[in-house]
């Protein structure tokens, strides 16, 4: 992947090279590489333009008719694994269609957030994690939850604020977690804050003798926050197994990425952090998986964090209330042709012939049946009792038995017994 081991001694980003024209004037030049697994490089760009009617709108330029590239064959995934990821992507999408319908029926409290167009990124990334690894989704990674073993009803009940939801009504959307079985940290609405937290999870596990991979996500908008920098840098300095997906989905609510950052690709920021960075096509499940898996293995080997930029487009508004009318229509048309599920469907059925049309149709209807059953369960959950708003602010005695998850930390017996400290010079 990003880094060849032989180079890592000098810089995790690449190699140092001698400019050897003359020994007397040898200058160390650093060269860095950001591997790009994509099979196409869209050249679209968005800018604000004042039109004749005086309105300011976003305008897109670039080759909007470029042909859709093929799926890149995975270096690691078997036929069965590809089909399994595809199935999760279908579950992801059908669950969100069900959520949209529940919203239209007035059963959702608040809004609905979608990962339309980002299912490959959510599902194939989480699929690369091992059982003991940790993750934390952002709002568009509802598919990651399904891959990690949560049921669709969990997310559905969260949206409907039901008593049986994982937070028992106290929070909505994908804002829940599980530190016992599924190793998920609950997201908060503020962007970037999960990054140092996941790094801390890796730190805690390492103190207990385990290198776990900790995966989380941030958008091209969210990565603008200061805590994103703090979190990645902390993981880099401490060499923690953070696997950070930057989901470059082109729109941060209504703001295009051109107004969010100036560098060409956000993966380039890895150079500044001193960690490997890689670019993948976020609509190609195989590319997403391969990059994620290599990053996870680096984490398990104690080789530190990896930054993966996945490029795609958010194919709906910020949330259900937002029609995304600010997005130039040709951009939707361009990315619609790169729908991750349609592409993977085509790859599995037509190109690889790993699924017959009949098997594919059966798979789709099986997923629909599952989602329908999940929807029924979710709908039938009662609303919470008003009084259940109370309690649980503190972890009271006996409510949790806290102990190191991966075993007793190894304690190094250092030198020096306890003796009183002396005051700093200026305090004497």
């Amino acid at each position: 992947m990003a880094i060849k081991k032989k180079n890592s001694k000098h810089s995790p980003n690449g190699s140092r090279r001698h400019n050897g024209a003359s020994p007397a004037t040898t200058i160390d030049l650093r060269t860095y590489s950001i591997p790009d697994l994509r099979l196409e490089h869209p050249d679209l760009s968005v800018r604000q333009s004042t039109e004749k009617d005086g309105h300011v709108r976003y305008e897109v330029t670039g080759n909007l008719d470029a042909p859709v590239p093929p799926i890149r064959d995975s270096k690691y995934l078997s036929k069965q694994q590809c089909i399994e990821i595809y199935r999760y992507m279908l579950l992801n999408r059908k669950m969100e269609v069900a959520l949209e319908n529940l919203y239209k029926q007035g059963k959702v409290v608040g809004g609905v957030y979608f990962g339309l167009g980002q299912e490959a990124c959510s599902c194939a990334s989480a699929y690369a994690l091992d059982k003991d690894d940790w993750f934390a989704p952002m709002i568009r990674n509802q598919g990651s939850l399904l891959v990690r073993g949560f049921a669709a009803r969990d997310t559905m009940m969260q949206y409907m604020a039901k008593a049986d939801s994982p937070t028992r009504g106290r929070d909505g959307t994908s804002h829940f977690g599980d530190i016992e079985k599924r190793n998920m940290v609950s997201p908060i609405s503020m962007l970037g804050d999960l990054i140092p937290v996941l790094s801390g999870v890796a730190l805690g596990a390492r103190l207990q003798g385990r290198n776990v991979a900790v995966m989380t996500y941030i958008g091209d908008g969210g990565q603008s926050t200061g805590v994103t920098y703090e979190g990645i840098n902390f993981a880099a300095v401490q060499n923690l197994g953070l696997v950070l997906f930057i989901e470059s989905n082109l729109w941060a609510y209504s703001t295009p990425s051109e107004m969010q950052y100036r560098c060409k690709d956000l993966a380039e920021r890895a150079i500044g952090y001193g960690i490997p960075g890689v670019i993948v096509d976020g609509t190609d499940a195989c590319q997403v998986y391969d990059a994620a898996r290599e990053a996870v293995e680096r984490a398990h080997a104690g080789e530190g964090p990896t930054l993966i930029e996945a490029k795609m487009m958010r194919m709906k508004g910020h949330a259900i209330h937002d029609a995304a009318s600010y997005v130039p229509k040709p951009m939707f048309d361009f990315w619609k042709k790169r729908d991750p599920i349609a592409r993977f469907d085509n790859y599995l059925v037509k190109e690889k012939k790993w699924l017959s049309s009949k098997e594919n149709a059966e798979l789709i209807s099986e997923v629909e049946r599952i989602i329908e059953a999940e929807r029924e369960i979710a709908i039938n959950s009662p609303m919470p009792e008003p009084e259940s708003a109370e309690g649980g602010v503190y972890c009271e005695d006996g409510c949790h038995d806290i102990k190191p998850k991966y075993g007793t930390p190894k304690v190094k017996k250092g030198t020096g017994g306890y003796k009183e400290t002396e005051a700093a010079v200026h305090l004497k």
Partner: protein, 323 residues
């Protein structure tokens, strides 16, 4: 043994690291340097760099990492070089850490600790008492000890507690006071106030460095036959409502004394508790003595003017006694 306030805290953390391998420290300059005030001096030699971690200057990362580690069952103790800088990590503390148990049931057994408070001419960014930012955040425990005995017992209790605890050490007290600290293992319960001086005429409800201000005032007033009772809150969240009510019930007159600025300060909350619990027992107005509603100024005469003083307590006590 007689220990300084600072040494008591240092000894408390040391002992907890000794007894529990899941305790570790992280913060800026806490390793080889031993911390800006030397609270972790010698720790890195004794416990190793794995458990005494020097971090980048990144407060949100420090809190986030501490929280993440706590989710794996560790008990991190994170140092802020000055508590003024805790604002840099406010979102992590308020929205991530404090809400965790209530929202999704995960305990966060971590301690955020560091020096706070004025009287050392530290200027506006090294003298603050930002405890109220966190008192207004359900889910946190906020601890402000006044004596070496309490400092050690409370830091040990905070490390053992299953909730996020913010531990405000008063830097004026660090090396200015000494007190008896027993050699054996003990904790001071979080959330319990303590009567540090019994009296009959009026009550001073206070905490941290102001306890010593109140004690000095009490000595002066004793000569005038004004007998102060002093309640040291020790923990400002959760507040010991019973202890507050009991002292007011006893003396019927109360002054609330704190170092931080007046508006939205703890005195307002305590006055409301008194109103709710023991209104009928009051024989005079609830009096507040606090810092001014401004930043803490730098120049010594200005800082002196800003901060509560012994003479303020003496003057207000005389006035209230005569009421």
């Amino acid at each position: 043994m007689q220990l300084t306030y600072l040494e008591a805290i240092r000894q408390g953390i040391w002992e907890e690291m000794d007894r529990d391998p899941s305790v570790f420290c992280l913060g800026e300059d806490i390793g080889i340097y031993g911390g800006a005030f030397k609270v972790t001096d010698g720790f890195i030699d004794r416990f190793g760099p794995e458990r005494v971690i020097d971090t980048p200057i990144a407060e949100s990362a420090i809190v986030g990492a501490a929280f993440g580690a706590s989710l794996t069952g560790m008990r991190p103790v994170a140092e802020f070089q000055f508590m003024d800088f805790i604002g840099c990590a406010f979102n992590q503390i308020s929205n991530m850490v404090a809400k965790t148990h209530y929202l999704w049931g995960a305990p966060a057994p971590l301690v955020l600790r560091g020096p706070s408070g004025g009287y050392v001419h530290g200027g506006p960014f090294h003298s603050q008492n930002p405890e109220m930012w966190f008192v207004h955040n359900p889910g946190l425990k906020v601890i402000c000890p006044a004596t070496p005995y309490d400092a050690k017992g409370l830091i040990k209790a905070a490390i053992r507690d299953n909730n996020p605890c913010i531990f405000f050490e008063h830097k004026y007290l660090y090396r200015r006071i000494k007190g008896e600290v027993p050699a054996d293992d003990y904790v001071v319960p979080i959330g319990k106030a303590n009567i540090v001086r019994e009296g009959r005429d009026l009550s001073i409800v206070t905490y941290a460095a102001m306890v010593h201000t109140a004690l000095e005032a009490a000595e002066i007033l004793a000569k005038e036959n004004i007998d102060l009772e002093i309640l040291d809150l020790r923990t400002v969240s959760p507040l010991d409502r019973e202890a507050i009510a009991a002292t007011v019930k006893k003396t019927n007159k109360v002054i609330i004394l704190h170092e931080h600025s007046r508006t939205g300060g703890l005195a307002g909350e305590i006055a409301a508790i008194i109103n709710e619990e023991v209104f009928d027992d009051l024989d005079g107005p609830i009096v507040r003595i606090t810092g001014l509603d401004s930043a803490v100024p730098f120049s010594p005469p200005q800082e002196h003017h800003y901060l509560p003083k012994v003479e303020d307590v003496v003057r207000e006590s005389r006035r209230l006694k005569a009421y």
